[in-house]
Symmetry: C2
Subunit: 320 residues, 2 copies
């Protein structure tokens, strides 16, 4: 792939061509050597999209909820991107047949991009790759990007926390409240959705949730009080309430400069992760290298201590 191809792809993505978007995400996901070039070309076209993270235990109806949100946003004339992230799956690139079927109603819609992403073997983990894929969808002109994660592990929580607004999905009678608390999900949720609210126990789950949110660390006056919304996503019920809750959270953040502050904190963490990973790789690349061996030999001979050697090594990997 030549320099021109990346520029072409970015131009194609900005025109909303699904193939260009898909290829760019593949480059990001595969940690292509051209990744830096891709990200540099995308940067000027990012910052427009509102990023919503959705997480929750298996069975709460994440895909159905995501699909219902897409419908709601499309009705409002928004361009929508969906990134379905599965940290445990070896499949990616839209290979998740289940998602495709559930998202099938949006398949022919040129205003919707849907992409599945897996993590296995990804350099630095998915928590690092997902924001780059979000930038692709952002540059492609999406107004809203829904990042859906499967499961409630640490990675999922991290990915959802990278969003502008984090939505935590629960369902009645699954003991989700307690599980969620364990995974640190109560801390990251800006909006809580109790889906399958036509089932027994929906009100009890809402009560439990409100109780646990109240038990959380004391909020300062002016802090965001997470919304709790009931839905039956499969019938589209309550989905407009979710959109309203998201709009409210976004407006609340924008009023206070919190949206920008949150994005800045997120970018800072991202840069830190990339820098540490890059440096660790540069040093690992020196394994078996003559310079490292020479330093080690001097240590063994008593002519150098390991800290001074590490300084020399660092100079070697960070010089011009």
């Amino acid at each position: 792939m030549t320099e021109i191809d990346v520029q072409d792809l970015v131009a194609g993505a900005r025109e909303g061509r699904p193939r260009a978007v898909a290829r760019l995400i593949s480059l990001v996901e595969g940690a292509s050597p051209r990744l830096r070039e891709v990200m540099a070309a995308l940067a000027p076209h990012t910052g427009h999209a509102y990023v919503v993270g959705l997480t929750g235990s298996p069975g709460v109806g994440k895909s159905t909820s995501t699909s219902a949100l897409v419908t709601a946003y499309r009705r409002a004339g928004k361009r929508v991107g969906v990134l379905a992230v599965d940290p445990s799956s070896p499949f990616s690139g839209g290979a998740l047949l289940g998602d495709r079927i559930r998202m099938g109603e949006h398949a022919g819609d040129p205003g919707v991009f849907i992409r599945s992403m897996a993590t296995r073997g990804h350099l630095g983990g998915l928590a690092w790759a997902a924001p780059q894929a979000v930038r692709v969808l952002d540059a492609a002109g999406c107004d809203v990007i829904l990042v859906e994660t499967v499961g409630v592990g640490q990675s999922e929580v991290e990915i959802a926390a990278q969003a502008d607004t984090a939505v935590v999905l629960l369902a009645p009678g699954m003991g989700d409240g307690i599980q969620a608390a364990k995974a640190g999900i109560l801390e990251i949720g800006d909006v809580f959705v109790v889906n399958k609210a036509d089932r027994d126990g929906a009100d009890a789950t809402v009560r439990e949730l409100n109780h646990m949110l109240g038990l959380g660390e004391a909020r300062k006056p002016g802090d965001w009080r997470p919304s709790v919304v009931k839905t039956v996503a499969a019938r589209g019920e309550g989905v407009e309430d979710v959109v309203a809750a998201l709009d409210k959270h976004r407006a609340w953040m924008e009023e206070r400069g919190e949206l920008n502050a949150r994005r800045t904190r997120r970018a800072a963490r991202e840069v830190e992760t990339i820098a540490v990973t890059a440096l660790r790789e540069r040093i690992a690349d020196l394994r078996g290298d003559r310079r490292l061996t020479a330093l080690a030999e001097r240590i063994v001979a008593g002519g150098l201590d390991p800290y001074a050697a590490a300084d020399e090594l660092i100079e070697g990997v960070t010089g011009p």
Copy 2:
């Protein structure tokens, strides 16, 4: 502490003063800001000691075996250092009463240094602190340093593998063979000791061990074939055989230049670990720093991509 103090301590340690040795190890263990200075001052006086790592499951008689080895080496006129490392213990600095009691017979011997080390909270973990403490004992004129680790976890295996010769202790009828194989101990053992050999099943354990060693990856001609020795350490039985096996392994390594090669590989890994940790810390120190925030703000504004930002950050932490 002034510059002169470190030099004084090192001079004191070289004269074999226990207090100077103890204070230097405390500086190492506590990751003192003067650590670099300490290591630089020690370096010219290291490389003399033969380092033996001892590991094995709880109950195999590690402390008793270590103590018996100290006795044997003292009888041969050697100066001996003992470093008892417990990766899970919050205690250190010789605070392990049990060890003190078991090692009690050597308490008044000026030719023996005994030190317990714990890891909790140590920067970079014990696998990093232990070799520095070994250098202190080395500079203090020890001919042999016994590094005893408690347990058979990954850290213990790493610490034992940092030795010139790794001794793996087992006892009859504890199913140790299988457990050891799981923890990767069979791969690191240069000498295997079946202690408590007066108990039922000792010969079966030796057979199982020989069988498992035989099943290991095919050795190249000339590779070291691990020794298997039976002991009853509590009565001193077989301990001279262990010393003989250690001597044999050491001679074997020296003949082939393998001792130096092993120490060089070990020093290279150590330098790598120190360098990566130092760089990670330098970057973490920038959390909340104006430079990192400024980079993050440019990313959010679309004026910079996170990879280019990471490059700038790296330049910032590695410059002169």
